[in-house]
């Protein structure tokens, strides 16, 4: 990956058999990093994540998604300063990523105005992923971890409602700070990182097999997306492409995960609006999907089904029949539920005009996935970059423009139906049994990146492999950080009591891949 993908401003991304076209662009000078970022911004790129790595040189990575594909900039930092230019002026979502990098790696964002602690909740004295030999990295950031300074809203009758990190229900920990007047929300600020898992350290020094197991366990609802993005990144680094059969099974697995999660979200949305019966109706279907996954693929949440080089599951003729039958049943039952949702006046009254994410705001934060498509952001990695086998039976783009909870509900229904049709076509045209390929070893370190359309949105992955198939650094990033931004933008102006519904309609993960 040493070719320069940008050639006099033109773009040259390396196409790949399965995933989307992608390019890794190594840079040495901060000026070049800023210049490339500006150029990407002007080309309509969306920032998907910024992370760090401390290999032989400390490096900073930033992933951007263009209509044409994924571009990852990698900037080598000077050991003497460990500083990098902040992209927050170009991409508003960059700030929190950069604060995370600062907290974990001790790198210094230049030009970032918001320097509050992000991932560091006062539990470590020096950045845990920093180079232990570099004295610069141990300079902890300024503000004390306790009493996190939320932005205050002042005015007559304004008061704050702190919610969490411990909630009344059994959910993940996260803190919300509402500034309200009466029932109306003026500002919402989220604070996450209570469940930082240290995934980056866990990956370090693992073998590929261990890495694949870990990747599928990062986030239970995105097991397939995370392990697929990990495997694709490894495959790109190794320069191999999985067999046709593997690609088909992987696509089927990804759609199963999407359908199951969308069903869960739809049921939970009904439940949050007070329609408890909806939750049991949707949970029933989701449970059925999980049980089929257990019998056909060996795991309810499809853990360990995808490995670098292929898949660990194969489909027998009877299993294909079983899955096809399930597709038909689900299509029928979900159609009925969709009609119930669409016709339920009380439910639609709660959904419509609630939590509107304006298309321009969605664009500003680069929000993709369900939330983005409900706000007119016509991005879907499966539709835009039709790798194999997607290009043969490409699912239609689900798009809405109202950006409210109702739109996000509609998008989920549309996507379920598209996924079912897509799965059906894949099952009917399943080629020869999938084979896992061996990965060729190479003496020098290699890097690879990938992007997968998970159920929330784009999941990106990046790996750096050492000789002997040892993982040096891995970063997997789900879209939750961007969705938290979207939620913060969509909540003000709504009633406090409507917040749980809005939150559920975005469904960002509190833990994310590693918030």
């Amino acid at each position: 990956m040493n070719e320069r993908p940008f050639d006099e401003g033109g773009l040259c991304l390396i196409p790949s058999e399965e995933g989307i076209p992608r390019a890794l662009l190594p840079l040495d000078l901060p000026e070049n990093y800023l210049r490339e970022a500006r150029f990407l911004k002007s080309s309509g790129a969306r920032l998907k994540g910024i992370w760090g790595a401390t290999s032989e040189t400390p490096s900073l990575y930033a992933a951007f998604l263009l209509k044409e594909g994924l571009v990852v900039l990698s900037l080598s930092l000077a050991r003497s300063t460990l500083s990098f230019p902040s992209l927050s002026g170009l991409f508003p979502a960059a700030g929190r990523f950069e604060r995370t990098v600062r907290d974990l790696f001790g790198f210094r964002p230049e030009g970032l105005s918001d320097l509050r602690l992000q991932t560091n909740h006062g539990l470590w004295a020096r950045p845990p992923l920093s180079d232990p030999d570099n004295p610069l990295a141990s300079d902890s950031p300024s503000s004390p971890p306790e009493n996190y300074p939320f932005v205050r809203v002042s005015g007559e009758g304004v008061h704050e409602i702190p919610v969490g990190p411990v909630h009344a229900g059994i959910i993940e920990p996260g803190h919300f700070r509402f500034s309200v007047v009466g029932e109306k929300v003026l500002r919402l600020e989220t604070r996450m990182g209570y469940t930082h898992k240290g995934i980056a350290s866990l990956f370090h020094g693992r073998s590929l097999a261990e890495g694949a197991r870990l990747a599928s366990r990062i986030s239970g609802d995105s097991a397939v997306a995370c392990s697929l993005v990990f495997s694709q990144a490894v495959e790109q680094a190794a320069g191999i492409a999985p067999s046709e059969g593997s690609r088909f099974v992987r696509a089927i697995l990804l759609e199963r995960e999407r359908i199951a999660n969308h069903l869960g979200d739809l049921g939970a949305l009904g439940n949050d609006a007070g329609l408890g019966a909806a939750l049991s109706l949707f949970s029933r279907l989701r449970e059925r999907l999980h049980r089929t996954s257990l019998t056909v693929f060996g795991h309810r949440l499809l853990f360990d089904t995808i490995v670098p080089g292929g898949v660990s599951a194969s489909l027998s003729a009877s299993a294909i029949g079983h899955l096809l039958g399930e597709c038909d049943d689900l299509t029928r039952e979900i159609s009925q539920l969709e009609r119930i949702y669409a016709d339920h006046g009380g439910l639609q009254d709660r959904f419509q005009n609630t939590g509107i994410l304006l298309p321009e705001v969605a664009h500003l934060y680069g929000v993709g996935g369900v939330a983005g498509r409900a706000s007119g952001q016509a991005f879907d990695a499966r539709v835009d970059h039709r790798g194999d086998p997607t290009h043969r039976f490409a699912p239609a783009l689900s798009l809405d423009h109202t950006g409210d909870v109702a739109a996000r509900v509609r998008i989920r229904f549309l996507e379920i139906f598209e996924s079912l049709i897509f799965t059906r076509s894949l099952l009917l045209h399943l080629p020869e049994p999938p084979l896992s390929m061996a990965l060729p070893d190479a003496p020098e370190p290699r890097e690879g990146c990938a992007l997968v359309e998970g159920f929330r949105g784009e999941v990106i992955g990046w790996v750096r492999l050492l000789q002997g198939e040892v993982l040096e650094s891995v970063h997997i990033q789900d879209p939750s950080p961007l969705l938290w931004h979207a939620l913060e933008a969509a909540t003000p102006g709504n009633l406090v009591a409507d917040f749980p519904l809005i939150n559920k309609s975005f469904n960002p993960s509190y833990s994310g891949t590693d918030l």
């Binding site: 008061h159 704050e160 409602i161 702190p162 919610v163 909630h167 009344a168 229900g169 059994i170 029932e183 009904g270 949050d272 609006a273 007070g274 329609l275 408890g276 019966a277 939750l279 049991s280 109706l281 029933r284 339920h344 009380g346 439910l347 009254d349 709660r350 609630t354 009633l495 406090v496 009591a497 409507d498 917040f499 749980p500």
Partner: protein, 320 residues
């Protein structure tokens, strides 16, 4: 009406009334949960689950939040006593129990308001945002439903010319036509008021865990152990009492005039049947409707007020 010397039978009926409300309120709660579970394809937890919950809470230690005052501790017993006291005023096993002379419908409304006020004070005592939010919303719902409640009372008391509950029951259960349009409309209004006053869907979701949407539950968030049990038990009794008042006003058939052992027994049987039927109705409403956006509550209560006023006017148009 002068206070007559208390006969042993009347004292016994009053005691049985109190016991019935204390013991049966959690069972009715359990019944509503069973029907709700049945309507949404879930396996119910059983008729006595609320009782098991209460007993579990009574066995727990009491944890008090930081910064509470004595008010916080006094509120649960006060709330519980006011509600239990109200059960002595609502006649349901005999038309005219011992405390009949004070069994005035307006008194009852006052008692419920007192109970609500104590609960709101307890919620605001600790000064957490959720308690304040719950109390604020509860008071909003309350002041919006109260006019409708009073209008319903006036409508049903038009027949008796008095707001005394025994005289309302008597006037409605003897002589007149079985079907009164004014009462039918008032009954519809009463259902709306009932849902609002008892924190049921579509006004409030009694089973929610989303602290930001809560009304009733938000006020109880800081309570634990026996204090929480008293609050929960009191709320269950309040729900039962509202249903009993509804039965008194709109379906009083079967309430014995003279309390004898057999008539009380038969009366309890009929009453339990009515309550299970009403409980199923509540569960059905709760399963079919989504929760209203909180600022739609005024529309809901305005509908209740409109209906009750309509009932009031219909009495003069059609029935006099």
């Amino acid at each position: 009406m002068a206070i007559t010397s208390p006969s042993p039978a009347m004292v016994a009926v009053e005691a049985v009334q109190l016991l019935f409300v204390l013991l049966f309120a959690p069972v009715l709660y359990g019944w509503i949960a069973i029907v709700r579970a049945f309507l949404s394809n879930r396996t119910p937890a059983g008729l006595f689950q609320p009782w098991r919950n209460l007993l579990r809470l009574f066995k727990k230690e009491t944890l008090l939040p930081e910064g509470h005052s004595i008010l916080f501790v006094l509120v649960p017993p006060a709330f519980f006593s006011v509600i239990a006291g109200a059960s002595l005023l609502v006649p349901f096993l005999s038309v005219s129990p011992l405390l009949a002379p004070v069994a005035d419908a307006v008194t009852l409304v006052g008692l419920f308001s007192l109970a609500r006020m104590t609960m709101a004070l307890g919620a605001m005592d600790v000064g957490t945002p959720f308690g304040d939010m719950g109390a604020r919303r509860e008071m909003m719902v309350a002041f919006l439903t109260e006019p409708a409640t009073l209008m319903i009372l006036f409508t049903v008391s038009l027949w008796s010319g008095s707001t005394s509950v025994p005289s309302i029951i008597r006037s409605l259960s003897d002589g007149h036509d079985l079907f009164h349009p004014s009462l039918l409309i008032a009954a519809l209004a009463f259902i709306l008021v009932f849902l609002g006053e008892n924190a049921r869907l579509p006004i409030d979701n009694p089973t929610t865990h989303l602290e930001l949407t809560m009304i009733h539950e938000a006020m109880l968030l800081e309570y634990s152990g026996p204090l929480l049990a008293l609050m929960e038990w009191g709320s269950m009794q309040k729900l039962l009492l509202y249903l009993l008042i509804g039965i008194d006003f709109f379906a009083p058939a079967g309430i014995p005039e003279a309390p004898t052992f057999l008539s009380v027994l038969a009366g309890s049987g009929i009453l339990a049947g009515k309550l299970f039927l009403l409980g199923s109705g509540i569960a059905l409403i709760e399963s079919l409707f989504a929760k209203l956006r909180i600022f739609r509550v005024p529309e809901f209560t305005a509908l209740a007020y409109l209906l009750s006023t309509l009932g009031f006017l219909l009495h003069f148009v059609l029935e006099v």
